[in-house]
């Protein structure tokens, strides 16, 4: 099992979700996060006082899935979230040791 963590631009969430639905990914967890990488922040000016807003709003998607689905899923997310500009985001893949379905107690692949 693997966990995919993808940080994307907020307005790309719908595209990514639809693309993942098409390849049969059945669930995901998202959160609104803030951060910056190469895109950097932006400036706001109030009566001449310049404030740099370092952290830009992003969406983090988390998906846990069987190892053999990882490659296709990562490609799908990358294609759907791509705008070709700085700030499109990052995708990380982690190993997952165990998964438990709370309702039934099923373990491993059966639980996801």
């Amino acid at each position: 099992m693997k966990k995919i963590e993808a940080i994307i631009k907020p307005f790309k969430l719908d595209d990514v979700k639809e693309a993942l639905n098409e390849i049969g990914i059945q669930g995901m967890t998202i959160s609104e996060v803030k951060g910056y990488g190469r895109q950097k922040g932006h400036k706001e000016i109030y009566r001449g006082a310049e404030y740099v807003v370092d952290f830009i709003p992003k969406i983090k998607i988390e998906i846990v899935l069987p190892s053999d689905r990882v490659e296709q899923t990562v490609t799908t997310i990358r294609e759907a979230a791509n705008t070709g500009k700085l700030g499109d985001g990052k995708i990380f893949v982690f190993a997952v040791e165990e998964a438990v379905r709370v309702r039934t107690g099923e373990l491993g692949k059966d639980a996801i």
Binding site: E44, I45, Y46, R47, G48, A49, Y51, V52, V53
Partner: protein, 431 residues
């Protein structure tokens, strides 16, 4: 019922039949307009100014800014009828302050007149000016002043600074008719007075924690813009009402007020766009107020072309003072009470000495209409007001500090925000 009617008609008959004892005669048109103007100016404090300032203060201090503004209006309302009116408009004591004949409005009845309007209406109209002046000061000190200190300061300042200055200019004091300073609706009395007091208070109080280092985002530019719009609306009562009559000069004052506000907004916006890269909404709202402040002393004395210049220059001066000069001087005038009201008030008072034309109000003649002396008179009135206010405010600040055990909230409260630490409330519930 019948007897009562009979009695009233007898009394009315007597009153009508009696020979006029004074030249003053009530005019219902004038009275109606000043009643409406009074209500308009009242709205400028707890609605216009509270929103204008509240939107600029940080989210954690928005309610405290509202509280300071509301309380300033309430204190002013009470103090004015108890002693303020008589100190400002009572019989002059050497031109410096009014006598105490009208304590608690003693001696004023429903039949008392001031010009062509009832004295009750006149004194209420003047009350709304007194209230907004003390409320304007708080723009310099939001985010850090103790609420108790503000209440004590506002009380002392209202009685000891505002009332004498109002007397000098409008109440028969030395600066008005004898000396010849022109201040139609309060350039010196309201704006220079409040602006200088704010600067003194901000200097004594010190900077906000983190000023110049951490980002201090305004809580809502939307509220500030709405506040500026309400101020603009109320200012028609402020300036056109100051004619104390519903006549042509009132109409002219209305016209130049609106034009100057619009020019101020445009010039501030374009200056900011050109020099800072963005036409901000805060800039437009600030420019509106700059234009309104500058036209205030001139409203009943200048014509339309002059108002175009007065407003445009006010926007540029305000922008320059707030955006360029303030950061270099390094004081923390939080919401720029001095930068906008003080500086643009000075410009307005000088501009009155330049542009006043006898075609609007007879006898009011500025430099451009052949009376260079007027500019000197205006200059002296500015310096005298600023000096009196600066020294007086400084003394009052230290008295307040003694009475309330320090002017500032403690550091923890300042970081947490005054809404929570003083009032135990929050301005918004955002989840």
């Amino acid at each position: 019922m019948k007897i009562k009617t009979l009695f009233i008609s007898c009394v009315l008959g007597l009153v009508t039949a009696a020979p006029a004892l004074a030249a003053d005669k009530l005019d219902s048109g004038d009275t109606a307009w000043i009643i409406v103007s009074t209500a308009l100016v009242m709205m400028m404090t707890p609605a216009g100014l509270a929103l204008f300032y509240g939107g600029m203060s940080r989210y954690k201090n928005l309610l405290n800014t509202f509280a300071m503004t509301f309380v300033a209006y309430c204190l002013g309302s009470v103090l004015w009828v108890v002693c303020g009116y008589t100190l400002a408009f009572g019989p002059s004591q050497g031109g410096f302050v009014g006598g105490l004949e009208h304590l608690f409005l003693n001696g004023i009845t429903v039949n008392s007149l001031n010009g062509s309007i009832p004295e009750f209406v006149f004194l209420l109209f003047q009350m709304t000016f007194a209230c907004i002046t003390v409320a304007l000061v708080l723009g310099s000190v939001v985010d850090r002043m103790k609420f108790s200190s503000w209440i004590v300061f506002a009380t002392l300042w209202f009685v000891l600074i505002y009332c004498p200055v109002a007397h000098w200019v409008w109440g028969g004091g030395w600066m008005g008719e004898d000396f010849g300073a022109l201040d139609f609706a309060g350039g010196t009395v309201v704006h220079i007075n409040a602006g200088v007091a704010g600067l003194v208070l901000a200097l004594v109080l010190g900077k906000r924690k983190g000023y110049g280092k951490e980002a201090m985002f305004p809580s809502s530019i939307t509220l500030t813009a709405l506040g500026a719009a309400l101020l603009w609306f109320g200012w028609f009562g402020f300036n056109a009402g100051s004619e104390l009559a519903a006549d042509g000069v009132a109409g002219s004052a209305f016209l130049v007020t609106n034009t100057s506000a619009a020019m101020g907004a445009l010039s501030w916006m374009f200056a900011e766009w050109a020099l800072e890269g963005r036409p901000t909404v805060l800039g437009v709202a600030s420019g509106v107020v700059a234009g309104l402040v500058a036209i205030t002393p001139a409203a009943g004395f200048v014509n339309l072309p002059a108002s175009l210049v007065i407003g445009a220059v006010a926007g540029l001066i305000g922008f320059y003072a707030v955006v360029k000069v303030k950061p270099k001087l390094g004081y923390d005038d939080s919401l720029d009470a001095f930068g906008v009201h003080g500086i643009c008030g000075v410009w307005g008072a000088l501009a009155t000495g330049l542009f006043a034309t006898p075609t609007i109000t007879e006898g009011a003649r500025g430099l451009f209409y052949g009376n260079p002396k007027q500019l000197w008179i205006q200059f002296v009135s500015i310096v005298a007001t600023a000096a009196f206010t600066a020294v007086g405010t400084l003394i009052i600040v230290y008295i307040t500090k003694m009475l309330t055990g320090g002017l500032r909230v403690d550091e923890e409260s300042e970081v947490k925000g005054l809404d929570s630490s003083i009032h135990g409330e929050r301005a918004f519930e955002i989840s």
